[in-house]
């Protein structure tokens, strides 16, 4: 079951009601979006109990900060995800150790790894399921770069974790991600 937004739910109205102190509106949001938010958080923190803690904190935050939601800055649904993802990413970035390999060291690592990874055209994600205009933009990326972006966003992997996963040098992964973001931005403009 792909995690798509359900069009007939009025996220913005629900947030307005939360800001007005209506607990039932938060519960409606929770019933509606909780499983999807938990799915996103669990993918990042990779632990069920921690993911539920993240969703707990996310809904407490959503309740406390609903009044500060500004529809001119983005969609209400997007705001829910940014609250939850931010908590999840803060949690894993604080606790997961970054491999201390600097760019220079990474650059002298066996370049063959990079070439192997580059030729690895298998997709790690059913990215064609992703909603909206980003699908065709992802299609324009080389599979390995696409995997970098998706491992980062969906799995919450750091640069070094992606490098390890793909068997590619750290510096190469950093460069791929930087260029992929630029390409996505141009494609979506």
């Amino acid at each position: 079951m792909p995690n798509r937004p359900v069009p007939d739910f009025d996220y913005e109205a629900a947030l307005e009601q939360c800001a007005a102190g209506r607990r039932s509106a938060l519960e409606a949001l929770y019933r509606h979006e909780g499983p999807r938010l938990l799915g996103v958080a669990q993918r990042i923190v990779r632990d069920r109990a921690r993911a539920e803690d993240i969703v707990h904190d996310a809904f407490v935050n959503i309740w406390n900060r609903a009044g500060s939601f500004d529809a001119t800055r983005g969609s209400a649904r997007g705001w829910l995800y940014s609250v939850a993802r931010n908590l999840a990413l803060n949690a894993v970035r604080d606790s997961r150790h970054e491999t201390a390999v600097d760019d220079d060291t990474a650059a002298v690592l066996d370049a063959r790894d990079a070439i192997d990874a580059w030729h690895d055209t298998r997709d790690a994600f059913d990215w064609r399921d992703s909603a909206g205009r980003i699908g065709p933009c992802l299609e324009q990326l080389e599979p390995v770069r696409r995997n970098c972006v998706l491992h980062a966003y969906v799995d919450g992997l750091s640069h070094s974790e992606i490098a390890q996963r793909l068997g590619a040098p750290l510096g190469t992964v950093k460069a791929w991600i930087k260029r992929s973001l630029k390409a996505l931005k141009e494609c979506l403009a």
Binding site: M1, N3, R4, G21, R23, L26, E27, Y30, G34, P35, R36, L38, G39, V40, Q42, I44, R50, A51, D53, V55, H56, D57, F59, V60, N61, W63, N64, R65, G67, S68, R73, G74, S75, R77, G78, S82, R85, N86, L89, R93, D94, S95, D129, S130, A131, G132, I134, G135, V149, L150, A152, Y153, V154, G156, S158, I162, I177, L181, K182, K185
Partner: protein, 241 residues
């Protein structure tokens, strides 16, 4: 000729990697700290959030445990009880952006007045609560812990009201500092999520506005005897009634 400001290109890269999640913990915290007062960075982050949001659809939903909503509701009940008891004349102040802006601008989250009727006060606590402190996260302003001190008792209770994670190689250390003191004094290491009573018998009596904070420190506590790690939660004591 040097440009004093960050070029928009770099700002956008920073925002992109922030939303993607590939910034290191330290750089992430930098961005979190900059966001409230950097409108250009905030706008760049908003744009990246919108661009990448469809990728959340690649994750399968997971059905939450049956008790999760109840946990959320209980946390909100505690907040609500605190609000009702402390500030009946100003409903909604807890959620007020202006309140938190003011609190953030003052550099410290304001301590919140709570009354002794607070739901989380254990029934066996003798005497009325004399001082209350709500410890909030400095960036998100999310309340995480409540400190309570009862009249005539030479101890405080530290009660968690929200879940928190501490990195495996770090410990949570509890500190206090009254206005006239030279520096913060350690009240020891705290286990996340567990209520604890701490004796204050070696310290002067608690006073109004006394600062309490929880910082991340090495596993055996701060090596210097003063806080060295980032503040996780902070608040000041308020006399109740």
């Amino acid at each position: 000729m040097s440009a004093p400001t960050v070029p928009p290109e770099n700002l956008d890269e920073l925002a992109g990697e922030y939303v993607l999640g590939t910034l290191s913990g330290a750089r992430r915290q930098e961005v979190n700290a900059r966001l409230p007062h950097d409108a250009a960075l905030r706008a760049a982050v908003d744009r990246w959030e919108a661009r990448l949001l469809p990728l959340t659809s690649l994750t399968e939903p997971v059905e939450p445990s049956p008790g999760l909503w109840l946990r959320i509701a209980k946390t909100l009940d505690r907040q609500h009880a605190a609000r009702q008891a402390g500030q009946p004349a100003r409903p909604g102040w807890w959620d007020s952006l202006f309140f938190w802006r003011g609190a953030a601008a003052s550099g410290l989250a304001a301590a919140l007045v709570l009354a002794g009727t607070l739901a989380l006060r254990p029934a066996q606590t003798p005497g009325p609560v004399q001082y209350m402190v709500v410890l909030v996260a400095p960036q998100s302003q999310t309340p995480g812990w409540v400190v309570q001190a009862s009249a005539g008792q030479r101890e405080v209770q530290l009660v968690p009201i929200a879940a928190m994670q501490v990195p495996a190689d770090r410990a949570l250390e509890f500190w206090t500092k009254a206005d006239g003191w030279a520096g913060p004094v350690s009240l020891g290491l705290i286990k996340p999520g567990e209520p604890v009573r701490i004796a204050l018998d070696k310290l002067p009596p608690l006073e109004a506005n006394q600062l309490f904070e929880l910082t991340l420190e090495p596993p055996n506590g701060s090596p210097t005897g003063k806080p060295t790690g980032p503040i996780q939660f902070i608040g000041r004591a308020v006399k109740v009634m």
